[in-house]
């Protein structure tokens, strides 16, 4: 219990200090997106890593959050903070409604159904041109602001995004170590036993699906205000796969693993520029090799590696 608190405080400190040595350079901009991806990966990890239910449609909720906020603030001149809240609640309600039929499915069928949700949303962003601007995108989205303070630089956005991310991480840590978290993990390990123990598996799965949609929608809203321009390509199937890769690489069923996966996979494209569109092959290779050789993800793999290496070094000395 106490060790968990210290871990979280150290993590907060790291997040707080990380931009200082970077002096507002390009890397701060990358870290803003690491923060957004961390939230998205966290949302998916609650669903996949804890409850054991796959979703290949997370980009839909991210996109709905971004377009919801974008449309409400540009075309209806709504206050961005209010819009963010309304949109997140609506997206969660949408996921709740979709979740009831979809989460009755298991395995490949669930993957296909959530994939379908993602594809339908992507088509909707492209085709509802009057609202979203279609393929040419939606521009002129305002920056977020508090009174006179406007979030218009990378450094300000960094603290904005990570402020949200840290709150979500803390709440998620609380959640997974509670009655609800135990129920979710029980469903993952043996759904039939969980139900016999009185865990309402159907309802719980839908609830966590809605929660992951809520988190993704908040990330989407922040994204649209930071970019001030959004287009459907940012919310395609490709993104859902990237998120899946983040969670698997970072560590299924680990809150911090989501952040680690987001960090690596957000930095990776910078290194994969040379591959252009073939970068998805690299994601595929990463996914396959991780699930075969390191199913616990890096967050469990790295300590394991140290345990293997350290005693050896000791015996040499």
């Amino acid at each position: 219990m106490k060790a968990d608190k210290i871990k979280f405080l150290v993590f907060c400190l790291l997040v707080l200090l990380a931009p200082l040595p970077l002096s507002g350079g390009y890397l701060v901009n990358v870290l803003v997106f690491v923060g957004i991806n961390s939230m998205l990966a966290l949302g998916l990890n609650l669903l996949l890593g804890y409850a054991g239910q796959i979703s290949l449609g997370q980009a839909a909720f991210f996109g709905l959050g971004a377009y919801g906020s974008g449309v409400l603030t540009t075309q209806f001149a709504m206050n961005p903070w209010l819009a963010m809240l309304i949109v997140a609640v609506c997206v969660a309600a949408f996921a709740f409604a979709v979740g009831f039929p979809v989460l009755r499915l298991k395995g490949h069928y669930l993957a296909m159904a959530t994939l379908g949700v993602g594809v339908i949303a992507h088509i909707a962003f492209n085709e509802t041109i009057d609202l979203t601007g279609g393929p040419s995108g939606l521009s002129g989205i305002p920056y977020l602001s508090i009174g006179e303070f406007i979030f218009d630089t990378d450094l300000k956005n960094y603290y904005l995004v990570w402020g949200f991310a840290l709150v979500m991480i803390l709440l998620s840590l609380n959640l997974v170590n509670s009655r609800v978290g135990r129920g979710l993990r029980a469903i993952h390990d043996s759904e039939v036993a969980a139900r016999v123990m009185g865990v309402d598996a159907r309802l719980m799965k839908v609830q966590v699906f809605a929660l992951s949609a809520f988190i993704s929608a908040i990330a989407g809203s922040l994204y649209c205000h930071i970019m001030t321009f959004i287009s459907p390509t940012s919310f395609s199937f490709h993104i859902s796969i990237e998120l899946l890769t983040m969670v698997v690489i970072g560590g299924l069923g680990s809150v911090y693993g989501s952040v680690l996966g987001a960090l690596l996979l957000t930095m990776l494209p910078e290194m994969l520029r040379a591959f252009e569109d073939f970068d998805i092959i690299v994601y595929g290779l990463l996914l396959v090799s991780m699930t075969i050789y390191l199913p616990g993800g890096l967050v469990r793999g790295i300590p394991m590696l140290f345990r293997h290496l350290l005693p050896k070094r000791g015996s040499h000395a």
């Binding site: 016999v196 123990m197 009185g198 609830q207």
Partner: protein
């Protein structure tokens, strides 16, 4: 306590159960026996709501629960253990038992995420009570061990502790002695008697006849999906039809 009335179960063209009617008396240990393929496990699955019956009704304390899902039946005090042990393998032993207390706690997503004061005190209560059940089952030292690493015998004890944490009225046990050695079986017999002494009605499917004759107050014999006999262990031992079903005709 539990009344099965005219239970039938068909899977496509296969009739697994037909015309099963008997009562598990309150406070008893009732054994359900029969040769392999008699339909014992199917009967348990119908009783706990894993599948609905094709015919007939399941009544718990006079209430018709035939149409209820397993999680609803758990709320009415019906719980079971599994023949092949269904533990939550990646969770600790203590956490497994804490899941058993799911119906006796009610914190939802919001109170858990925000660590509301009432959620924290509920969490403490669950944790303490779960430790007591581990003590009851005789495995308190394993609390922090990952459940998936337990031996079969210890896993069975954990399953019982987890089921008891629900504070059930009726505990159904599917072959509790399967895979246990004779020392473990003797300990199991004592544990089941202690469970009955707590006022919990027990019904069990079992192949170990010594165990069944030792602890059961009443027996039901199934054969090929139908009821063959019903009575006290002594009556069943003298029943010619039962002997024939088990040993074949001369």
């Amino acid at each position: 306590m539990l009344r099965l009335s005219g239970i039938g179960k068909r899977f496509g063209g296969l009739t697994a159960l037909e015309g099963i009617s008997f009562t598990v008396a309150k406070g008893s240990i009732t054994g359900i026996i029969g040769p392999n393929g008699a339909g014992k496990t199917t009967l348990f699955n119908v009783a706990t709501g894993i599948y609905p019956p094709s015919q007939g009704a399941v009544l718990l304390e006079g209430r018709d629960i035939s149409a209820l899902a397993p999680e609803k039946r758990a709320r009415f005090g019906l719980v079971r253990t599994f023949q092949n042990i269904e533990l939550f393998g990646k969770m600790t032993v203590l956490e497994n038992v804490m899941v058993g207390m799911h119906t006796q706690s009610k914190s939802g997503i919001f109170s858990c995420a925000f660590r509301m004061p009432w959620q924290m005190s509920e969490e403490r209560r669950i944790r303490e009570k779960a430790k007591e059940w581990l003590l009851f089952a005789g495995i308190p030292e394993l609390a922090e061990v990952e459940a998936g690493t337990l031996s079969f015998g210890k896993g069975r004890l954990l399953e019982i502790a987890r089921a008891m944490a629900l504070e059930p009225k009726l505990l159904l046990m599917d072959e509790p002695a399967a895979g246990l050695n004779s020392k473990e079986t003797a300990e199991l017999a004592e544990l089941i008697k202690r469970i009955r002494d707590l006022g919990v009605t027990v019904a069990l499917v079992e192949h170990d006849m010594d165990l069944v004759m030792d602890i059961c107050d009443a027996l039901v014999v199934l054969n090929l999906g139908t009821m063959l006999a019903e009575g006290t262990p002594r009556e069943i031992q003298d029943n010619q039809a039962v002997v024939t079903a088990y040993l074949g005709e001369e």
